[in-house]
């Protein structure tokens, strides 16, 4: 989906404002927003790809005027309503109106293990990788209505395969409940001039991770 969340190369957002290393949260609600987002994923049952899709699908003006933890909370509310776990009326009234649905809950005792384990995106696959390190490839010019992870600035561009990772879960499919459909994942490097034209910094290289279906040979 071509959303305002796909920010690479956009202009007009002003300077970057550095921040001290120990400034982890700016308000207590940010702490709770982080924790709620992580904890609700278990009863919610959605994938990380569905979460990202929900965030980037917020109304564009709202996305750009919300802080990132606010984006998380707004997307979490949508996911909860979408999954039927919370009613829109409950969010509007800001209180529970009905009992919850039974299901898995993240116990405090399970948290360290869950965070330490993480969630690998690597999956077995039957095919061999189509591309090898050093191959020239061209990204496809695709404009999907659904979730995708090929940024707009890197579409239809020629680059070189820099790394071959394993076969990873395909976000385009997994975000929409259409299965993991793992694909080979590559790091592809592009000269700045290929992405941004002749005026680009001559010393600039940009790398992205690209799934095999994002790529064609040249």
């Amino acid at each position: 989906m071509n959303t305002v969340a796909d920010l690479g190369g956009m202009m007009g957002f002003g300077p970057v404002r550095p921040e001290p290393e120990d400034e982890r949260f700016h308000a207590d609600w940010e702490r709770r927003a982080l924790a709620l987002t992580l904890a609700a994923a278990l009863p919610g049952g959605w994938t990380i790809d569905a979460s990202r899709s929900a965030r980037e699908s917020l109304p564009p003006g709202e996305y750009l005027t919300s802080s990132y933890y606010a984006i998380w909370i707004k997307a979490l509310e949508r996911l909860l309503v979408g999954a039927g776990l919370v009613g829109a009326d409950e969010l509007a009234e800001r209180r529970a109106l009905r009992p919850g649905r039974p299901g898995p809950v993240l116990a405090a005792s399970a948290v360290p293990g869950v965070l330490a384990k993480g969630s690998s995106a690597d999956r077995p696959i039957d095919s061999t990788p189509r591309f090898a390190v050093g191959d020239r490839v061209r990204t496809r010019n695709v404009h999907l209505v659904g979730h995708t992870r090929l940024p707009r600035y890197a579409r239809g561009k020629e680059g070189v395969v820099e790394r071959v990772h394993g076969a990873h879960v395909l976000p385009d499919s997994n975000a929409h409940g259409a299965g993991e459909q793992p694909e080979w994942l590559y790091t592809v490097r592009f000269p700045g001039r290929e992405l941004w034209g002749e005026a680009a910094d001559p010393g600039l290289t940009v790398e992205i991770e690209a799934f095999e279906s994002y790529l064609a040979g040249t």
Binding site: A5, M11, I73, A96, G100, V111, A210
Partner: protein, 193 residues
């Protein structure tokens, strides 16, 4: 954005989720404590300092960062597929997620606000020297810049250059020099004057 309303909104959401039995409040506290106290950029600084003092570890880090980082006890959520890239006199690395906020949590903790901001995400892939200037960093014009846009589940750790004048320093003293920003690529490591 209205901070007061966000406070009320998040409180309400928490109470709804708790009352409906989806969330255990104590679990929230453990999550917060983990990322506020345990998991942060000192982990990454440990990894970087080890790579500076131990050439064999450096080699393992650059070959299989996930495994090398696990050796020091770090790993898990948002660090499942790590790649370490090393700054040199010729090449400087920067990490971004233009699409959202992907960041190597086990080694750097939660991302700073600026890392998730449109200002950083939009500009660092097209004008990295302009972004570095916002951090007070100027690189020689002939230093090449490689920007890593984390568009999938691979996460990057920048190994900054070890500053001159630190020969013989031990790992702990070196780690204390390594800032979070230097491991994203928006800072350099320097010995305090």
């Amino acid at each position: 954005m209205d901070e007061k309303d966000m406070t009320l909104r998040v409180e309400a959401l928490e109470s709804i989720l708790v009352e409906k039995g989806y969330v255990e409040p104590a679990a929230l506290d453990v999550i917060i404590e983990t990322y506020e106290k345990d998991v942060g950029p000192r982990n990454g600084a440990h990894v970087v300092a080890r790579s500076w003092v131990d050439p064999a570890y450096r080699e393992r880090l650059l070959t299989d960062a996930t495994a090398a980082i696990a050796e020091l006890g770090y790993g898990g959520r948002q660090g499942e597929h790590m790649v370490a890239v090393e700054n040199t006199a010729d090449e400087h690395h920067l990490v971004v997620c233009t699409l959202c906020s992907c960041y190597p949590w086990p080694v750097l903790g939660l991302p700073p606000t600026w890392y998730k901001s449109p200002a950083y995400r939009s500009r660092v892939v097209i004008d990295p020297r302009g972004v570095l200037a916002d951090f007070g960093v100027t690189l020689p014009t002939d230093t090449r810049i490689t920007v890593h846009d984390s568009t999938a589940e691979v996460r990057y750790l920048v190994v900054p250059r070890r500053p001159e004048g630190t020969d013989g320093w031990d790992e702990g003293s070196l780690a204390a020099l390594v800032s979070r920003d230097s491991m994203i690529g928006t800072g350099l490591v320097e010995v305090p004057a």
